[in-house]
Chain length 621, copies 2
């Protein structure tokens, strides 16, 4: 019934969609096999994309030629650039999205990607021959052949939902769990673990009193995720609201603690520390007498509301009583209770940097199955797994991103080398070169790479090169163009900044913390005229590069120094066990993880600097 596919993607979540799209764009025949074609790219939890560090990932996915940015743009109902008051390394785009539109846009995008076939069914196992995957088995007993397989099962593997003392199987509320795959992988020698995550109750927006909440508008001049011209910023936006829990809410929640699956040990899996449930927050931060709650609409027209910050698996009656004590929620009606879900994951130290498994060739894992949490984290892994699955089939070299290239590089390097005990999410603090890994320059960093592998289009590349060249030209001009005291001192005084004594280059003026190009533009008609020729993104780019030049250069030098070690490759069959001088832990970890380079070895937790120099000696470097 089926041809042999180049790539079979199991699961149509955020990871699976990016994987299928990327592999097909790169010329592979792809089968996306997912349990229900109506739930492709469902947002399991909050209808929002991006945010701190995650927004950067979306921009990176987009720059490489992935789709999450475009889909987010097409379905967004509000946009905000977070941290605009901080340095540009912290600026993070975030959108509120229409849940139904998001899913529909992804499905249509995949349908219109030549090379992607669909099959709606549960995959119940893999076909593995000689430690190499050659296909999948489905629930009704079909065998479908594939040269490579990408598993992106999300929270579905032996998913178990908890609400108070009740528990029932499921991959998400109302959807069945997936059985069989974990068991088979364990038989094949994989180590599996258990994690948990949770989601808040959904409520009826008609039952809330917004006058008791703070309004949160979108940005006045909203931007967007995609660097491409396929999308445009929102003209109209929906509002969100902010409210707070209070002591009464906390006390009410506490009445359910003895029935909480989190506190009475019924849930074994570790949850995301940085995305805690409300009962967790109350428990861990007993001193705080309120927590912020974001009240977010689920779409343009629906009355369904997402209660961000109120994730909980307490008994539903406790959820209900407590939520009604939040300001504005006095008459709240619930659509469904919050819940926690436990699911199987596979410690990602069992993977290569390509996201191929070490144990079974041509088998790739991406998304929540690797112990991460979040759509963006899932999406970018899907992209990398899809790319590498395609390249493996085409017998091309692995596609890897370094920690200094992208947050995506940081994420994968962290996962493979450090593993993760709790659901892994991205933070800016995980990146040592975060001034380089900004959201504004993701295209400059990555579009060429995406284009070289046949993913980012020619148009994207041209657009990026135009931006790059224009920026360089602009910066160069800013270094030449001088402004005189006569022409600008009046203006400088008006905006309360020091006047100048003699002519000064625009570049120098721009380095003043208080001054941006938009302010400088107003100081002098000539410079106004000159700057008006440039699109905003070029102006922004130039401004950032000029202002932060010295810091950026310093990071760049560090990167280069590290790269020389980073890139030194370790033979894949290098036998660590025979090197007596290595520490016991270092030896064991190196043996298990089999780092591909000295750089990778250096970041394995448990590998000491001493181990590293011993290694360097043995490798004859």
């Amino acid at each position: 019934m089926f041809p042999e596919y180049d790539v079979i993607v199991v699961g149509g979540g955020h990871a699976g969609c990016e994987a299928a799209h990327a592999a097909a764009k790169m010329g592979c025949s792809v089968l996306l096999c997912t349990m229900n074609m109506n739930t492709i790219a469902q947002m399991s939890c909050n209808p929002a994309i991006g945010g701190v560090a995650k927004g950067q990932i979306v921009r990176e996915i987009d720059a490489l030629g992935g789709m999450t940015g475009i889909i987010s743009d097409k379905s967004m109902i509000q946009f905000r650039m977070l941290n605009k008051s901080k340095g540009p390394a912290m600026w993070s785009p975030r959108s509120q999205n229409d849940r139904m539109r998001f899913a529909e846009e992804w499905r249509l995008a995949l349908e219109h990607t030549p090379g992607v076939d669909f099959w709606q069914e549960m995959v119940s196992g893999l076909v593995v021959e000689d430690k190499r995957v050659v296909g999948v088995k489905t629930g009704i007993g079909l065998e479908i052949k594939g040269k490579s397989v990408v598993l992106t099962n999300g929270t579905f593997l032996n998913g178990l939902i908890h609400i108070g003392e009740k528990q029932f199987g499921g991959g998400r509320t109302g959807e069945a769990a997936a059985k069989g795959i974990t068991e088979q992988l364990v038989d094949l020698g994989f180590e599996a673990g258990r994690m948990k995550t949770g989601t808040p109750p959904r409520v009826d927006g008609r039952s809330l009193d917004y006058s008791k909440m703070e309004v949160q508008h979108g940005d006045e001049n909203p931007e967007k995720f995609s660097f491409s011209s396929e999308t445009s910023p929102l003209k109209e936006q929906r509002t969100c609201w902010i409210t707070y829990t209070n002591k009464e809410v906390h006390e009410t929640l506490e009445t359910g603690f003895d029935r909480s699956p989190m506190f009475n040990g019924r849930i074994q899996g570790l949850g995301p520390r940085y995305c805690p449930s409300i009962e967790d927050k109350i428990n861990r931060f007993a001193e705080r007498d309120r927590h912020q709650i974001f009240v977010e609409p689920e779409g343009w027209d629906t009355v369904e509301i997402y209660v961000n910050g109120f994730s909980t698996s307490l008994p539903e009656d406790v959820q209900y009583k407590a939520i009604r004590k939040i300001a504005g929620f006095e008459n709240c009606k619930m659509f469904r209770p919050g819940y926690a879900i436990e699911y199987d994951f596979f410690p990602p130290t069992q993977l290569k940097l390509t996201l191929e498994t070490q144990l079974v060739e041509n088998l790739f894992f991406a998304g929540q199955i690797n112990g991460t949490t979040g759509y963006e984290e899932a999406g970018c892994q899907g992209l990398i797994a899809g790319i590498n699955a395609a390249r493996k089939v085409k017998e091309e070299s692995p596609f890897l991103l370094k920690r200094s290239d992208a947050y995506i590089g940081v994420l994968i390097d962290d996962l493979i080398n450090k593993g993760t005990e709790e659901p892994y999410r991205m933070f800016t603090s995980r990146a040592e070169f975060r001034l380089l890994l900004r959201q504004d320059n993701a295209d400059l960093r990555l579009t060429e790479l995406g284009h070289a592998i046949g993913l980012a289009s020619d148009k994207r590349l041209e657009k990026m090169l135009d931006k790059k060249n224009d920026t360089a030209k602009l910066i160069n001009d800013l270094k030449q163009k001088k402004l005189s005291p006569e022409s600008i001192n009046e203006g400088l005084e008006e905006i309360d900044t020091a006047t100048i004594k003699e002519k000064i280059t625009v570049e120098k003026l721009l380095k003043r913390p208080q001054l941006g190009l938009s302010a400088i533009k107003e100081l002098d008609p000539d410079i106004h005229h000159y700057l008006s020729k440039y699109p905003q993104e070029v102006l922004d780019q130039a401004e950032i590069q000029v202002k932060y030049n010295s810091y950026i250069e310093k990071e760049q030098q560090m990167v280069e120094k590290l790269n020389s070690m980073e890139n030194f490759r370790i033979p894949s069959h290098f036998d660590y066990l025979t090197i007596p001088a290595l520490s016991a832990e270092g030896k064991q970890k190196l043996h298990k993880i089999k780092p591909e380079t000295l750089g990778q070895a250096s970041r394995i937790s448990g590998v000491s600097p001493a181990d590293l120099s011993i290694l360097t000696v043995y490798l004859g470097r």
Copy 2:
């Protein structure tokens, strides 16, 4: 957690949505409790509404103030008035719909209906006290109180899906079956039965060769379902296609007959005779060497295609091999196989005409649970059950439609009095007064009734009265206005119809079979000017009433004669068992069904004309 609701509707399918909407519009507090809020108003099978007799039902639902017409209008991608070449009793509106839009429009419509609350969960049982329902129990163990409950579980009760020799539980593919309710109802004394239905494989439109098929366009001047001004006809439409099976297809299908769950006895439930599977058609009509296949898009943008006419539960490999032998399907890719589903239903003879159960007070059944098939059949039952649940709670009299009022009246009367052995669908032949029950006059027949119970809006009533008055005025004028030979004979000759000798009224001219108002309009400038003042629907209405006047009047008289008997009420505790003269079967059926009127008694299969006259005597009539 929950207030006591006036009406709890279990299930958000086509019946449940109409029930919830109607009860809320009539002022009740309503809870719609459904397994998954993302699947509200899912079309389980073909993405189309209306068709012969079904289209009339949609018009009737609309005239009463229900929503199926409006939702269909908003989501349609093609419209056709079927049987336009036959008499107006046969004209039947049919739309092809965007599956996702249809579901989304229904969900949004319900969200924006004040009084409808939502709860997403599976209902696992009823709370019954003293033979009266007082609420429902949910999967996680909640009890929700309701003064009345409408069950609309569709194909979900102990649903069992079959594909070839494989079977698995489910209410639809990818969705869980509902357990518990049947068992409880049987304990309460209900009789349950088993039925089956089926659906074709879904395929990838990109893999079809449309050049080998016939194109089927929508109507040139498409109409719509709703009488209201809330919707407007399509400006653009999508095309469908027609192709045919052939001998090779049939032979291929036959290779799977030994593994067919239909033929080897594994499926016990009876399927819809008039909506047979392709294997059924081949088997029953062995002499036919081809069957028609309608190739229908599932929406505006999706590539998914519905293969209407190819419903099957043969093994998937047989489905695949056979479908590829259909012209245009040579390279067909499937998204998922067709399947059959068996489910529990409750023989509808256990209901009253209000759709309340005889055994448990305030409990109503509507939709496929009553042994019907089809969205329209489900929707209209939901409407009637919702209305009557609301009226019961408000202690108002039952709302009943007679067989001469509406197809809806025919449907419910058939179900309650005759029951059904196989899935019941509507046909024009089921209606004895089908010249009265036309799609064009559903508003004239029903809007006043809908308005009187607080369902149809004032605006609808006004619009209907305008149409009625305008039509009456127009018909009156047509009887007065005369045309002379000089003015029209030339025109008559041009269109090849007999000329006139002396002046003739427009009415008389209109009675000629070949002539419609649109043709008459062109014969004479005065009449052209006069007719141009009227909207099309008034012109159509007047034309039909003039042309078919004598037939319509004859049916009207029959209705009146029957009504005098029809309306004669039988006391609800009338004891048939003590009347020795009744036939054994008649006695038993009357005792079981407890007809409310002599008319109802007359239509019970097994009640003979002799039984009826005996009854008439006993009732002192």
